[in-house]
Amino acid sequence: MQIPELERKSIEYRKTILSSIAQAGAGHTGGSLSCTDILNVLYNAVMRVDPHNPNRSERDRYIHSKGHSVEALYTVLADKGFFPAEKLATMGRGGSHWVGHPTRKVAGVEQNTGALGHGLSVAVGMAIAAKQDGLAHRVFTLMGDGELTEGSIWEASMSAAFYKLDNLIVIIDRNTLQITGRTENVMALEPLAERFSAFGYAVRTVDGNDVAALVDTFAQIPFEPGKPNLVIARTTKGKGVSFIEDAADWHHHVPTAAELTTALAELDQAEQRRQERYATA
């Protein structure tokens, strides 16, 4: 998929995410908006997936370790055709499988997540199995930065390097905010790149809200043969809506009807500007 189309999709995804959260009356607004571009690029430009045969053995695997940002994942999976988009309207309703953290009851979801610090170990297991069987598929996992204080991440990281999993791609949604405030004030993570390098990853840092930069970065996988890949995607929590951006209060704040209207209008304006930019070019 070309960059202009990816950019268009990001704006459209953000509108869907906000509308779905408002309709459900619950959701993780800030984190879903920060990782929208990452998921967009993964599903539309990087990963080999087959929505009509979700369990095809050659597929790349994706583990949504930051499970709370499920609204972004559901939005992208619906757009890809893993399930009808109408299902998004059932989010959080009694009996719906579209619950607040992903489960395998939803087509396209590989693993139930939501308790933080779990996805990486599961991804490591999948990547070891692929290596053992000589299979070419890759395993991707997206972690939040607030999640990185879980000790299990570092257990899993040791094994990722030990087993030389260059078929594993770990992405950090580095929006620098968690529910209490700045990650560096809650429990300092930096120097993150150095820490992950020391654990044996090949590390790249990228603007995680720039689809072109993300495409370029993922095109370089594997970064170094024999090393697990790690992408620190610098993002803005709540990206795309001025009053939601970089605000810890919007971690799981649900937009009011008025806020939703304003937010959707901002995103429409962004789409207008995008079209004008390409028209000019």
Partner: protein, 321 residues
């Protein structure tokens, strides 16, 4: 009754059986957390190094990696001391294995008070309680070498997550040739109609020996090896409970949340209420010593169990008068 013949530790049978199965199934993988010594898997690691995945002392990662391997179609046995596996790795068991429905075979080794004098850090008297409260994980606690081998063989094809609880003591053979082991079906060790001794794991042989002592006193005791806690063989327990006047349950676990609690819950709700005693480890700072000494302290010996059963039976007779 002939004295029981001593076999091997169930953990040894586990590793012997696993090695045989793995030789013809290259998808069979063992995941260990620096636990291949305790799990008697050193030989496995030497003979089939490509089929053992070591994660170091990291039980959370052990379970998560095992879930990922199972998701990829591997036949996975995650082996670690029960005390660490089911406490340190509990959230991974709950979410990555049970909730995600990844058919990992979790093997808790040196379970209960197998580690004896190493103390409470190394005891697992909680594992059956916590796992029974988690949906979608079957629980098997084999009694002897036969049950262990059969359980491991059955585990390979088991479609759901499974917890296999093993100890390290050499176990007596309890079953006659031709016994039929099925996950979820209790096995009768002795047939009797006065009292029933319901046990699992390493306490079954003690219950069998207690039954022989009772027989010498003219008391007929039924002994069931309830090797599967989930799915629980309600029919076998109810059928037994309706025949006998008293039941003693015995387990190498806290008296809260294990076999005894499961039996009591079933019987009360079914309205079948023979006299009942739950023998296990009480809610107190656990007595220290070897497994045998801990058992003796808490009345888990043939003589003590026989006495408990006899007194309970006697009490029902007095009551009847």
């Amino acid at each position: 009754m002939q004295p029981l013949e001593v076999g091997k530790p169930n953990q040894q049978i586990f590793s012997d059986t696993l090695l045989k199965l793995a030789e013809s199934d290259r998808n069979l993988l063992v995941v260990t957390s620096d636990s291949r010594g305790s799990g008697r898997l050193v030989a496995f690691g030497k003979q089939l190094p490509a089929q053992i995945v070591e994660v170091g002392i990291a039980e959370q990662n052990l379970v998560g990696v095992a879930a990922g391997l199972a998701a990829a179609g591997k036949h996975v046995f995650a082996v670690s001391p029960a005390c660490f596996l089911t406490a340190r790795g509990l959230e991974q068991i709950k979410n990555d294995v049970a909730y995600s429905d990844q058919p990992v075979r979790l093997v808790g080794i040196s379970a209960g008070v197998s580690y004896g004098a190493l103390g409470t850090t190394h005891h697992s008297l909680h594992d059956l309680a916590v796992l029974q409260a988690i949906n979608n994980i079957d629980i098997v606690v084999p009694a002897d070498n036969f049950e262990t081998q059969a359980a491991v063989e059955a585990a390979i094809m088991h479609p759901r997550p499974l917890y296999l609880r093993l100890g390290k003591k050499a176990m007596h053979h309890l079953h006659a040739p031709g016994a039929d082991f099925v996950i979820g079906k209790a096995l009768r060790i002795r047939r009797g109609d006065d009292v029933a001794l319901l046990a699992n794991g390493e306490t079954v042989e003690i219950a069998a020996q207690a039954a022989d002592l009772l027989a010498a006193r003219g008391i007929s005791a039924d002994v069931l090896s309830i090797h599967t806690l989930r799915p629980f063989d309600e029919a076998a327990v109810l059928e037994t409970a309706r025949r006998v006047k008293a039941i003693v349950t015995v387990e190498e676990h806290s008296v809260h949340g294990g076999l005894g609690s499961r039996v009591a819950t079933l019987l009360m709700q079914a309205g079948v209420t023979p006299a009942l005693r739950i023998v296990g480890i009480p809610d107190e700072y656990t007595y220290t010593g070897s497994q045998q000494e801990i058992f003796a302290h808490y009345g888990i010996t043939p003589a003590d169990l026989a006495q408990t059963a006899e007194l309970l039976l006697h009490a029902t007779r007095v009551e009847a008068i």
